[in-house]
């Protein structure tokens, strides 16, 4: 055989082999993933079992745990009806180290000498392992005596194009996502979350697609052809699926951006919402559009509208950065107004303990209260005063 013919045959065969390989990868990937799912579940359960055993051992050895500190709160934290209408203001914390480490939260709790009954973290949609229902995280939070709050963000581009052939290609996927959710396109994912949430059984806050009315922030905003009706339809659809799979242990937090007008048109209705979430973050003077806003200045305009909805209000992101004003002053005024202006509506406050926030500016923003020792001791005494009440 001539060398040229041989190369032609080899080239041809190689082409077919590669094509076969690609097909094989797609087929094998999806089949194997479904075969693997039960194994994965068992491994997760084994890990949880180990974690529980470790937690018990630690508790025995140290003669006490974080949960013991929160023991007086447990009747509230374990009851859905109490959590829908809490008799006292609940405090929570989000830490920038989640979900990899709790060290930052532990440090904050040490410094303010307090253990937060709510622990807040963020989870985005997708096919990756860390985008599935965070069973290990919520179980750990529950063991620590707190209630988890998950901000559930529909970043739909993280779904694998090869596996999810029913979804539009990545480039078009972020357009009108909410309508697609309402149309059941994402049920494969929502159902898994609903089942896992139901299996968890204990109360859990879920804040879905927050700041849906802000056209400058997230892909599920109005800039991508998402109308208020679409949001409401998507919300109801998800709520329905969770109910259907028995996830009645979920407290739904509806969280619009209150600085944008007409947020009330995104309200799904009282039977679908348990809480109203409001982010009150003061960006100080970091950008042209921002200036130093006090807690009261941010909240006052929207508050009467929110109050009319007759649901408990949660300051789901509470904090200020350092540039442009006095941190101590900001917190001190905020606590004053929580007691005297918003005492009727606001029932929960989640500290935003993120010291390296890069989501907005091109550099790190420090939201942590611990950057100011005075503000830290103020927060500590405010928390102590309220838990003594």
């Amino acid at each position: 055989m001539k060398a040229r013919t041989r190369y032609q045959i080899m080239f041809f065969a190689l082409g077919w082999l590669i094509a076969l390989g690609v097909l094989f990868q797609i087929g094998f990937g999806s089949v194997f993933s479904s075969v693997w799912a039960p194994v994965n579940e068992r491994l997760t359960r084994a890990a949880q079992w180990m974690s529980n055993a470790e937690g018990d051992a630690v508790r025995n050895v140290r003669k006490g745990s974080r949960k013991d500190y929160l023991e007086p709160m447990q009747p509230i934290l374990n009851s859905m009806s109490a959590l829908r209408n809490p008799p006292r203001m609940l405090f929570g914390v989000y830490d920038g180290g989640f979900p990899n480490t709790f060290a930052g939260m532990e440090q904050l709790e040490e410094r303010v000498r307090y253990r937060f009954p709510i622990i807040s973290f963020y989870s985005s949609w997708g096919d990756k392992p860390d985008q599935q229902f965070p069973t290990r995280m919520v179980e750990s939070i529950q063991r620590m005596g707190s209630v988890p709050l998950i901000t559930w963000e529909p970043w739909v581009v993280d779904f694998d194009e090869r596996r999810r052939t029913n979804l539009p290609p990545l480039a078009e996927r972020e357009y009108a996502t909410l309508r697609a959710i309402a149309r059941s396109d994402y049920d494969f994912y929502i159902v898994e979350w609903a089942k896992a949430a139901a299996a968890y059984k204990k109360p859990i806050f879920i804040r879905f697609a927050h700041e849906m009315n802000d056209p400058y922030r997230y892909p599920w905003g109005p800039q991508n052809g998402n109308r208020p009706d679409d949001f409401i339809a998507a919300w109801k659809h998800i709520h329905f699926i969770f109910q259907k799979f028995g996830a009645t242990n979920v407290l739904w937090v509806w969280a619009p951006h209150i600085s944008m007008p007409w947020f009330e048109f995104y309200y799904p209705g009282p039977e679908y919402v348990d809480w109203i979430g409001v982010g009150v973050l003061n960006y100080g003077t970091i950008a042209s559009w921002s200036r130093w806003w006090s807690f009261h200045q941010i909240l006052e305009k929207a508050y009467p509208v929110l109050l009319k909805l007759n649901k408990p209000i949660m300051i789901s992101e509470f904090g200020t950065i350092g540039g442009g004003g006095d941190i101590y002053e900001w917190y001190s005024q905020a606590f004053y107004h929580l007691d005297h202006t918003y005492q009727r509506g606001v029932r929960a406050v989640i500290l935003f303990n993120q010291s390296q926030d890069t989501t907005l500016a091109g550099y790190e923003l420090n939201w942590s209260v611990t950057q100011s020792p005075r503000a830290t001791s103020l927060v500590a005494s405010e928390l102590a005063r309220r838990s003594a009440m």
Partner: protein, 517 residues
Amino acid sequence: MHPWQDDAEIFRHRRARPVRNWERWLVAVLLFLGVQSVVYFGQWWFRLEHVNNVALFVLLSTATWYGISRLLIGWYNAFHIDQPDPVDAPPGLRVAIFTTSAPGEPYEMFVRTLAAARDVRYPHTTYLLDDTRDPRFAELAREMGAVHLEIIGVPGAKAGKINRALELTSEDFILVLDPDHIPFPDFLDRVLGYFADEKAGFVQVAQAYYNARQSFVARAAAEQTFAFYGPTMQGMHGTGTSVAIGANCTFRRKALDSIGGHGLGLAEDLVTSIRLHAAGWKSCYVPEVLSRGLVPADLDSFLRQQLKWSRGVHDVLLHEYPRAFRRLSVHQKISYLMIGSYYVVGLTTLIYLSIPLIYLWFGAQPAVILLADFLKHGLPIGILGAVIYRFTQRWLCDPVRERGWHWRGTLMKIGSWNVFLRGLVLAIRGVEVPYIPTRKERHRGNVWTLARVPLLTIMLSIVTTVWTVIRQLFFVPESEVLITTEVTAGMVMFLMINIVLMSGRVYAAWVDSEVRE
């Protein structure tokens, strides 16, 4: 009777079974699946979200992909398994058998070897290349009808003596026989026919051992060779890359002359074959057991041999390989790179051993990977590796005695990591290791000197485990304990695996310390 106890059965000619068409197709399918499993693992492994500590991730990836690439090349090699069709030896060839003796080698061994060489049927002349200065050896050679060549003071140990003997003799074909190997009578009849091909430079046959059950070390050392003389070398024959191994190789004098004689150095056999290949000579591997010899039976000799090989092979990689590179075929380029980098496993083992220790002491983690996810993507490679390993064992030269998982060989290979690493360092620094012929009888040893590094590794692993438990129980914040269970438990599990991996050599050292001399 146990297959290793029947002398008549052990000292009998055997040939690997022929390759059938369906088997070749099946290996092709397995190779395809193997490549797919590597792609499946690779597209998952190299995801940015996995990277944690960049430097550690690079190290871990290097170690992992070093192993995977060797596996891939091994599968590709298995796809080329081929055997030369037997060719009758033409009468009238002029053949020499060279065997060497050095001071300290036991006299009784030569009685047996020279008698067996005399009984090889094809007409030949046996030469004893002797520098013992012991009159008994000259006497023995005379008795056994061998020519005694006293060659003293030549540099380059065995190869030096061979080169000197080449000047003193004139036969066209030379079988280099290690003195511990007992050739079967039909040895030359089954080998010489392949030289009908004018370009055939050397013909190598399998090496097999009769003392493979003498001790744990002997068993492990023998296990390390089974696959090599079975499917591996047959695949190399298929790609024209089979190499000469010091013993049992028959050379064409013209070929040796063309490269200025037998190569020198600690891996003189490898030097010789790379030079012959570079000079355009073809090699032939005959998967037949035509002699049986001795494998190191005590840990000290085993480790000396490993150091010698590691140092020598790295030398070939660093010096011979670049020189020969342009004149080698593509397959030969890959093959010699694979052989030359075999002992890099010493370095990758160090990486694997360090990763859990680094995490548990300093908290640095190479990758954020769920164990379940790792298993999911790595399992197909593992399964195919095992299936191909076992399937190709049908082409072992002596399957009844050689088939198995060869865990002793694997344990001893991983347990010798520091020796390999030392060979690498010595080769890079150009420090010489004296050439010592591998000792032929068992030797008493001391556990601490023979297994210091694995013992220290085990102790460090135990201390780390105890410290981790204490720290988790008393000092780490509770929430941190709860959320890091998987990583901590996973790393402690790796420590346990490391202890198991290091235990083989410690056991071998302990056995040797109990030997009565």
